[in-house]
């Protein structure tokens, strides 16, 4: 696989991830549900695992996090762009660390127990990792500075909040891997028009709305 193809993959999967965070995540938030935990459990884990399975390139998910976090900065529907964007960028990096020892062909994930277990670990650590990073970086970037006692005080909440994405992740990874067995492929001549078109749609939609509302 050439580098341009990989870059296009990072762009399209990162854009889809960021788009879903902005549109679906905002909708879930409006309903008063824990949007961060639900989004991480379903969409983040699904996009990260699907892209890992298709491209088999460690490092790609870090790039996806940067693209998705970048798009989340312009979310026109819900505020707190900064903390969510930081969390998303961190989630890509944490996923990379967690899956570092897993083979690119997922040879370890043949059994349902392994799939469910990786779903639990991915959902939990990706979510609480993003939460911790945003609790540290947001006060630093926003001005008042980081206070360790605030993080220590909130640690039980953070450890608790990872339970929902862990449970969702336990279902998502087996489903994603089952769907991947169907071997849906995009023909080469459609690859660049599709990936660039989908990415452009995500960015124009979110950025356009952001411009309209600001």
């Amino acid at each position: 696989m050439n580098n341009f193809k990989l870059l296009a993959g990072i762009l399209v999967f990162g854009s889809l991830w960021g788009f879903s965070e902005c549109i679906i995540g905002s909708g879930i938030n409006e309903l008063g549900l824990p949007s961060g935990a639900i989004m991480t459990g379903f969409f983040t884990i699904a996009f990260l695992v699907i892209s890992r399975r298709i491209y088999q390139k460690p490092g790609m998910q870090l790039g996806m996090g940067l693209v998705a976090g970048g798009l989340r900065l312009f979310n026109p529907f819900v505020g707190c762009q900064l903390c969510s964007a930081l969390a998303i960028m961190a989630e890509g990096a944490i996923f990379e660390a967690l899956w570092y020892k897993i083979s690119v062909n997922f040879s370890e994930l043949k059994t349902p127990i392994m799939q469910v277990s990786m779903g639990i670990l991915s959902g939990y650590f990706v979510y609480i990792g993003g939460y911790i990073v945003t609790q540290i970086l947001t006060p630093i970037i926003s001005g008042p500075g980081f206070f360790i006692e605030n993080l220590i005080a909130v640690m039980p909440n953070i450890l608790s909040s990872g339970l929902l994405p862990a449970i969702i992740g336990a279902f998502v990874i087996p489903v994603v891997l089952f769907i991947n067995k169907l071997d849906i492929r995009l023909k080469d001549r459609f690859y660049y028009p599709t990936t660039i078109g989908v990415s452009a749609f995500c960015w124009f939609f979110v950025f356009g709305y952001w411009l309209l509302l600001t």
Binding site: C80, S117, T138, S142, G143, P144, P156, N157, S160, G162
Partner: protein, 135 residues
């Protein structure tokens, strides 16, 4: 090597689930439920605070929010040099955030015990406030 992972990963997953369950039980059991807010060492009810402080409307991304002005509140509770100290706002679930005067003076406290600041990340909008510690 793969055999090792097949044992270790499910064990870690089980540990993670137990940590999540126990921390959820801990958070629920240690929630502090009280009708007053402790500010600078003194207890106040929301009604008391609303009767002694001026109202302010601020604009946030969700629209306009009304509450009592935190700068007025801080002066009314007897903080002599408000810009010399920091303010740790604590919630009943133990969530807390520390802000300085530049942020504090822009904020409000609503009648449902949530603080809002117009120009900060949402993580500073502590809900179910039970204490504002001045330090």
């Amino acid at each position: 090597m793969i055999l090792g992972k097949e044992k270790i990963i499910p064990i870690f997953a089980m540990i993670v689930i137990f940590v999540g369950i126990f921390s959820t039980i801990y958070v629920q059991s240690t929630n502090i439920d009280r009708d007053t807010i402790k500010i600078n060492g003194q207890e106040y009810t929301i009604d008391q605070l609303f009767s002694m402080c001026e109202m302010r409307i601020i604009e946030i991304d969700k629209g306009e929010i009304t509450g009592i002005a935190l700068d007025d509140l801080i002066s009314k509770v007897g903080v002599g040099c408000p810009q010399c100290v920091k303010y740790t706002i604590k919630a009943k679930d133990k969530y807390q955030q520390t802000v300085d005067w530049d942020i504090m003076k822009t904020g409000i406290l609503t009648d449902y015990s949530r603080v809002y600041f117009p120009d900060t990340a949402h993580s500073f909008w502590v809900r179910d406030v039970i204490e504002i510690e001045v330090k």
